[in-house]
């Protein structure tokens, strides 16, 4: 009982956190009146306190405002890249899953080659091709996530395609197109949606990682990975510059994971 209560409380906190971060992304003005780009040469590297809850950086910019405004980029990249990967992954994966075996075999060999690389390295290589930059980071992490979605979409398609209910529909004389629309795609999407919820977190971390390595958006853009990177040389004097962006990234990813897992459990309960 107590455990269930703790899990429930965790779920609520996670959901609230996600809502808050989403609000930050949509309407940062609600959280702080300060301009994340406004410098102040008199307020350099102030520790957290009244007025600057997360302290200030080397040019006197308010870290809280920077973190709040950073949500829009980080979350945007996370959600955008994941959504794009999800849509493309579902389309390609479903088609491949429904295609004749030869096509399936060739396509999956290709996906397997992509899967040969760690996601983060694919993102790095994509950056090598595209060049650094904010849009390219989103593309790179999306490309990196894509193979996994294709594979899962295909696997789910195959599971659904071989499932009793698709066979039953076939036995009832339902047209294959109708089977695809009314059974295969919806049942494939459900688990993928859950994976994508968790995937947003992964994508945010990957994008922040690229920014951290200096391959993403550049100063003065407030982006969490970049903010973190900006603090790496200040660890000894000004821990807060690197600390708070990290808290936000971790918090967002943890929340997305908690909510995603809850959704998955709900989905599993329904399935069996």
């Amino acid at each position: 009982m107590r455990r269930r209560f703790a899990a429930r409380a965790g779920l609520i906190v996670a959901a609230l956190f996600l809502v808050a971060v989403t609000l930050m992304a949509v309407a940062p003005g609600l959280f702080t009146p300060l301009d994340p780009l406004a410098t102040d040469t008199d307020q350099v590297l102030r520790p957290p306190g009244w007025g600057h809850p997360f302290g200030t950086d080397q040019t006197g910019r308010d870290m809280f405002a920077r973190v709040v405004y950073g949500a829009s980029y980080s979350l945007g990249v996370g959600a955008g890249a994941t959504a794009a990967a999800l849509v493309i992954g579902v389309v390609v994966g479903t088609l491949v899953g429904l295609a004749p075996r030869v096509v399936d075999g060739v396509a999956m060999r290709g996906v397997e080659i992509l899967l040969a690389f760690p996601e983060f390295l694919i993102a790095l290589f994509a950056i090598a091709v595209l060049g650094p930059g904010p849009v390219n980071v989103a593309t790179a992490v999306g490309v990196a996530a894509l193979p996994a979605y294709i594979r899962v979409a295909r696997a789910e398609t195959l599971v659904v395609r071989r499932s009793g209910y698709v066979e039953a529909a076939r036995g009832l004389g339902v047209h294959p197109l109708r089977v695809a629309v009314s059974h295969v795609v919806p049942n494939t999407l459900r688990p993928l949606g859950v994976i994508a919820t968790i995937g947003i977190g992964t994508t945010i971390v990957a994008a922040a990682g690229l920014s951290f390595l200096g391959l993403g958006p550049q100063d003065p853009t407030p982006e969490w990975g970049l903010l973190l990177s900006g603090g790496r040389n200040l660890l000894a004097q000004a821990w807060w510059v690197a600390f708070f962006p990290g808290v936000l990234i971790t918090g967002t990813v943890v929340s997305a994971t908690v909510v995603g897992r809850r959704l998955r459990r709900a989905g599993e309960g329904r399935r069996s």
Binding site: G164, Y165, A168, N187, R271
Partner: protein, 566 residues
């Protein structure tokens, strides 16, 4: 036997999960050399009772008892460590499926030896050296009649046949020389011929002085081995007595219901079948002269009054064959040269053990799979070898009931939507008439319309199978192919589903092809039967004839192995 040493004694045995009582004041006793059967349907509490005797209840279960003695030891207050000294040494467990009840990643010999490693030499309690261990393992495997025990000990469970596996599992439970063996559904996963052998083994062990508690859902199975029977329902023992008493003169209504519901293979002489006079049609080409009653494909005709068009067969299979590639590259014929006709409103059973090809045959008939040889015609028109696009409109004529209704439902669909999918013409009919039709269909299979909004996982097993049937008959098919439709259900539910199918046949004139491993179920429902083995039909004919006078040795063995009530 009554004067023999008492090895288990329990009074007032109660198991609770929180406030819920799942085993309620059960009292039982077992003497050495005696076999007690605990019989009940799923949820009756029989398995938890058995677990309580091993101290293996789930963590959140609470056990209480006025008396609980295992081999003379009061086990009510035992610590986990003390229990470990009891388990394996004084009481052993054999459960349902040896493929998963033996650790699949360990060699059989290691599994048998484990109990000796834990408890040491059963006679002295000393730690056993490796050589002695191996020797004992071989001896124990030999004791349960495993041939070439040394070699088998080095194999993995999946490398053994089902019967040998189960024997090995029994050997592993007996290696510690316990006085009590708890056998939880010990033969449920086995083919009927193998089941008979295992039951025989258990009887032998009992005769050697072992106390055995058999847990089963099947009265017939325990009839041959148990000295006494306890019938459980909702956590209570509703009736207990000697096997003969309970089976021949059941006092409790539940026991009577169980006995009535159990499909049985009546003793010879076989009574008149429920449908008059099966008749066999003229042989067609491709038939084989190996069967007892005639050389041709059997054509059975029912007397269904409302039956559909014409006198020609609804379904005709001619020389069907289907091959599969084995993992080692060889070719195995799952179905080979099978021919038969199904007349309108007829009911034909296809029986065989696992791997006999009966499910593959069903898939060929349904057009889910294409035959490598031979053909299927439906209503005189070609059915196999026809493009799916052209076949689709005719699919309503032949419908399918599977063993796993849950898997055959889209988990997102409601009951009414599931049934609606089966309606012919789909969305073209007006929604109001559709709704009425769906209600009527659900009504006809005994599903209350209040369940129409439920999703599959919210239904019971029996309800699910009814919904599957409602969907199947929605298109007013001429023939239903049923693949083990009741195997996963409790006996009482089984009986109602069989009644439902029989009623449909009678009322709608739909023909049935009924695939099952269970001879008794087939006997209750069908007129004619095909007996399959290794993909071939080894015997065919009217039910009564085949079961009463089996000609083929395999059929004989099959019929003989069916457990019978006294």
């Amino acid at each position: 036997m009554t004067d023999a040493r008492e090895v288990v004694r329990a009074t007032g045995l109660t198991v609770r999960f929180g406030p819920t009582v799942v085993v309620d004041s059960v009292s039982l006793s077992l003497a050495a050399g005696e076999c007690l059967a605990i019989v009940g349907e799923s949820g009756s509490g029989k398995t938890l009772t058995a677990r309580a005797l091993l101290g293996l209840l789930p963590d959140d279960a609470v056990l209480s008892a006025d008396e609980l003695l295992i081999d003379g030891v009061d086990v009510r207050r035992l610590s986990e460590a003390d229990w470990r000294r009891i388990r394996g040494a004084r009481v052993g467990l054999v459960s349902q499926d040896a493929l998963v009840s033996l650790d699949p990643l360990r060699r059989v010999g290691r599994e048998v030896a484990e109990v000796l490693e834990i408890h040491g030499d059963p006679s002295s309690g000393d730690r056993m050296p490796r050589a002695a261990l191996d020797e004992t393992v071989t001896a124990q495997l030999g004791r349960v009649a495993v041939p070439e025990p040394e070699e088998r000990a080095r194999q993995y469970p999946h490398e053994l046949s089902g019967g040998l596996r189960q024997r090995a599992l029994i050997a592993s439970a007996l290696a510690g020389e316990p006085g009590v063996l708890i056998a939880d559904e010990p033969t449920t996963a086995l083919d009927v011929t193998v089941q008979a052998q295992v039951l025989e083994l258990l009887s032998g062990l009992r005769d050697d002085g072992l106390g055995i508690i058999v847990i089963s859902h099947d009265l017939a199975v325990v009839a041959g081995i148990a000295d006494r029977v306890a019938v459980m329902r909702s956590g209570r023992i509703v009736e207990e007595g000697t096997t003969v008493e309970v089976l021949s003169n059941p006092r409790h209504p539940y026991t009577r219901m169980l006995l009535a519901a159990a499909p049985r293979l009546p003793a010879t002489p076989f009574p008149e079948p429920s449908f008059p006079e099966p008749s066999f049609a003229e042989p067609v080409e491709g038939s084989r002269p190996s069967t007892s009653s005639g050389n041709g494909p059997s054509t059975s005709s029912g007397n269904g009054t409302s039956a559909g068009s014409g006198n020609g067969p609804v379904l005709r299979a001619t020389g069907l064959g289907r091959d599969f590639r084995r993992p080692d590259g060889g070719v195995r014929s799952a179905v080979d040269d099978v021919s038969f006709d199904v007349l309108p409103a007829a009911a034909i059973g296809i029986v065989g053990e696992s791997g006999s090809g009966k499910t593959t045959l069903a898939r060929l008939l349904l057009g889910f799979d294409a035959p490598d040889r031979g053909s299927v015609t439906l209503d005189g028109q070609p059915w196999s070898g026809v493009k799916e696009g052209r076949r689709r409109s005719r699919r309503g004529d032949i419908q399918y009931i599977s063993q796993d209704p849950l898997g055959s439902f889209d988990p997102r669909y409601t009951v009414s939507r599931i049934v609606a999918e089966g309606l012919r013409g789909g969305p073209r009919t007006s929604s109001r008439s559709r709704a009425a039709r769906i209600r009527a269909l659900l009504d006809s299979v005994g599903i209350d319309s209040s369940l129409a909004g439920r999703r599959p996982h919210e239904l019971s097993g029996g309800q699910r199978q009814r919904v599957a049937i409602a969907r199947a008959i929605a298109s007013e098919p001429r023939i239903l192919v049923c693949d083990e439709p009741v195997s996963a259900l409790d006996v009482s539910i089984q009986a109602t589903i069989i009644d439902l199918l029989a009623g449909l046949r009678r009322d709608l004139g739909v023909a049935l092809v009924f695939v099952s491993h269970d001879l008794a179920v087939v006997a209750t429902l069908c007129d004619d039967v095909l007996v399959m083995r290794d993909g071939r039909v080894v015997e065919r004919g009217a039910i009564g004839e085949v079961f009463a006078h089996p000609q083929h040795p395999f059929t004989k063995a099959l019929v003989d192995a069916v457990p019978r009530m006294p």
